[in-house]
């Protein structure tokens, strides 16, 4: 392999997104920096309202009209898309970005046949005929285990189930042969069986197409299953990021601990603990760390200043004052050992 300097598929530099709402300005994303290598899957984990979806949409240039990138850059394949013209964004979406959505039922047009909607993106590139696009769609759909795909493509979305539509959306994204797949909670609206299927398709496709994926989810377990790296978001920031094993086995941020302790388990006694309090109001940001009010380990400094990002290893970073050399030693109160999960799986 030639040793040229590899350009990451996606690079975010200190990205900030704000919304102009009736009740005030909402600081949805506050300085997110990350880079995504080719073929890598990054899971974005966090509560509702922490900015995951907004981050996803700003990467695709599809923010709602009242939202705006106020600072930072989005580099796709080394190309800076911040402030790019609509046609450039369109080109990027047409050729490089595929997207998946939380609720496939509403993301399909109810009165247009599914097949037409799936092949639409491919046809826009004008590289193949309608017939050819349809054939390729059919092929891909049967790969995604939709039986009788050619016939089903003539159906309307209401005739498909949610899981099927999600696979359809995946097909629509993959047909374009994108470099980056933004999967915004693609498993949230599905039942467990469809979830599992979806995850395995995602995994296979990443391998097969060399696709880079940003996988947004609430579900740590799903993240553990597909992701190479996990980024935990809180209050519009990435508070912890690292390789999947690193984040899950040696988490450093109290918020990540909280997320882990909210997982129910078949093997543990008692209720999951969860995190006290509510996500912060992103309109009026309090002084200090946003997580401080919910942080059992909050120190004085937490109330005064937001924690910078401390490196744990060369690939693992966390934004918590607990990593400061002067902070007291606190160890993670929960253990989510992957082996325990594997044990659960065995009994399924």
């Amino acid at each position: 392999m030639s040793q040229e300097k590899r350009i990451p598929v996606l690079e975010l530099k200190d990205l900030c997104v704000e919304f102009e709402a009736n009740t005030g300005r909402v600081y949805a994303v506050r300085g997110v920096s990350l880079s995504l290598e080719r073929g890598e899957t990054l899971a974005l984990v966090g509560e509702s309202g922490c900015g995951k979806t907004v981050l996803c949409r700003s990467i695709a240039g599809l923010l709602p009209a009242h939202g705006k990138v106020t600072q930072g850059e989005v580099l796709l394949d080394g190309q800076n898309l911040t402030g790019a013209s609509p046609s450039l964004w369109r080109k990027a979406r047409r050729e490089k970005i595929g997207m998946l959505w939380q609720n496939p039922m509403t993301f399909f047009h109810p009165a247009i046949p599914v097949g037409k909607q799936i092949t639409e993106g491919l046809l826009l590139r004008k590289t193949c005929s309608k017939k050819e696009a349809f054939r390729r769609g059919e092929e891909l759909l049967s790969q995604l285990e939709i039986s009788d795909a050619g016939k089903r493509m003539k159906d309307y979305p209401y005739q498909w189930s949610g899981g099927m539509l999600q696979r359809g959306a995946l097909a629509a994204a993959l047909l374009k042969e994108p470099e980056l797949l933004l999967a915004d909670e693609p498993t949230t609206a599905l039942d467990v069986v469809s979830q599992r299927k979806m995850l395995s398709f995602l995994k296979n496709c990443t391998k097969e197409y060399g696709l880079s994926v940003i996988f947004v989810t609430h579900d740590l377990l799903a993240a553990a299953e597909v992701a190479d790296r996990i980024a935990v978001m809180y209050g519009g920031r990435i508070v912890e990021i690292g390789k999947t094993e690193e984040v899950l086995e040696d988490p450093k941020h109290p918020y990540t601990w909280g997320l882990m302790s909210s997982l129910p388990s078949l093997w543990k006694e008692g209720k999951p603990k969860g995190i006290p309090g509510f996500p912060p109001d992103m309109r009026s940001l309090p002084k200090g760390d946003l997580f401080a009010p919910r942080n059992l380990y909050a120190m004085e400094i937490d109330w005064k200043e937001e924690a910078p990002i401390f490196p744990v290893t060369s690939t693992h970073f966390a934004a918590t004052w607990l990593l400061h050399p002067l902070a007291p030693e606190v160890s993670c109160p929960v253990r989510l050992s992957l082996s325990a999960r594997e044990k659960e799986e065995k009994y399924e």
Binding site: R93, W101, H109, P110, A111, Q117, G121, L124, Y158
Partner: protein, 334 residues
């Protein structure tokens, strides 16, 4: 075969429905017309009525069948109507169908053209504004539409006549063709310009606004983001997806607006003394020309109801979810 039977059954149902509506309507109009104050003999004999003696008047009433109780008159009328005989027009002293037969094309031309133009323009304006939501253009057109749709159409008609016919002398002030001209196409078109303008100006804003709002609603749906994420441009999404999504609404709107625009046509016909069904309808009501009024009302009603039914059928075809099932649509789909 089964399909044919199903369609036949559905069609039969619709025809039955239509018949019932027409029957009820005819009963109502028949009674209301006869109960309204006024003298039907005047329509037949003109001012001569005043010189007639009471005995002569009674005789005339008997001749026209107006001396019997209303329900008997209705029964007789119904029997005649069912056999295709709608009676004579008091005013024109000829068969009602003959009177209408010479005029209905005029109305069809005016109404049809104004209908098409109204919706074409409304669609264009609606798309234009929806694309530029809350921009200066959108607001400007919104205000303009409010003002223009608040002005009664007969007044606009008078203004236009004043401007274009009286002051500028460019266009004829009324009629469907020049009396001596013989009615060539160009001649007809020139006569249509003013009535058409009035009709379109009076109606287009309302529909443009409805279409704009509907499109805006449609543009906020999730599928728009899906479509955008495929790399389609905003315009393409609007035309291919949003418009498609609001098509059933649009068709229903078009069908429902048939009576509205037809009513407008009738008024405008009167102002421009355009020889059409509207003027005829107005006069037959005014002069108690019962038989003619009945035929005109039923004809209008028939047209409106059929349009409505067609709209229903079309929107069912356009929105696949409307097919099958009853009520809330909880029945399973095939």
């Amino acid at each position: 075969m089964e399909q044919v039977l199903k369609w036949g059954k559905r069609l039969g149902k619709k025809i039955l429905e239509l018949t019932i509506w027409l029957f009820l309507l005819s009963l109502m109009v028949f009674y209301m017309a006869r109960l309204a104050p006024g003298d039907p003999l005047r329509a037949y004999y003109g001012d001569g009525v005043e010189r007639m003696s009471t005995a002569q008047q009674l005789q005339a009433e008997e001749k026209l069948g107006l001396n019997r109780p209303i329900y008997v008159q209705y029964g007789l009328w119904l029997r005649g109507a069912l056999s295709g005989n709608f009676g004579i027009s008091f005013q024109y002293k000829q068969d009602c169908t003959a009177v209408i037969g010479s005029l209905w094309q005029n109305t069809a031309l005016l109404g049809g053209l104004s209908y098409l133009l109204t919706f074409l323009l409304a669609l264009l304006i609606g798309c234009f504004c929806a694309m530029r939501e809350d921009s200066l253009w959108d607001k400007l057109l919104g205000k303009l539409s409010m003002v223009l749709s608040a002005i009664p159409s007969f007044w606009i008609a008078l203004l236009l006549i004043l401007l274009f016919s009286v002051n500028l002398g460019l266009l004829p002030s009324g009629g469907a063709y020049d009396p001596g001209g013989g009615g060539g196409w160009l001649d007809r078109l020139v006569h249509l310009i003013l009535p058409l303008t009035v009709l379109v100006l009076g109606h287009v804003w309302y529909y443009a606004y409805l279409i704009r709002c509907r499109l805006q609603e449609e543009m906020r749906k999730d599928y728009v983001i899906f479509a955008l994420s495929k790399g389609l441009s905003g315009k393409a999404v609007l035309y291919r997806h949003c418009l498609r999504g609001s098509l059933p609404y649009l068709i229903s709107l078009m069908a429902l607006s048939v009576p509205h625009i037809l009513g407008g046509t009738y008024i405008v016909e009167k102002v421009f003394s355009y020889p059409g069904l509207g003027t005829l309808c107005f006069e037959s009501a005014k002069y108690h020309d019962y038989n003619l009024l009945m035929v005109l009302t039923l004809l209008t009603a028939f047209f409106v109801i059929v349009c409505h039914m067609a709209a229903q059928a079309i929107s069912q075809r356009l929105d696949p979810r409307m097919k099958g099932g009853k009520g809330f649509g909880f029945r399973t789909y095939e």
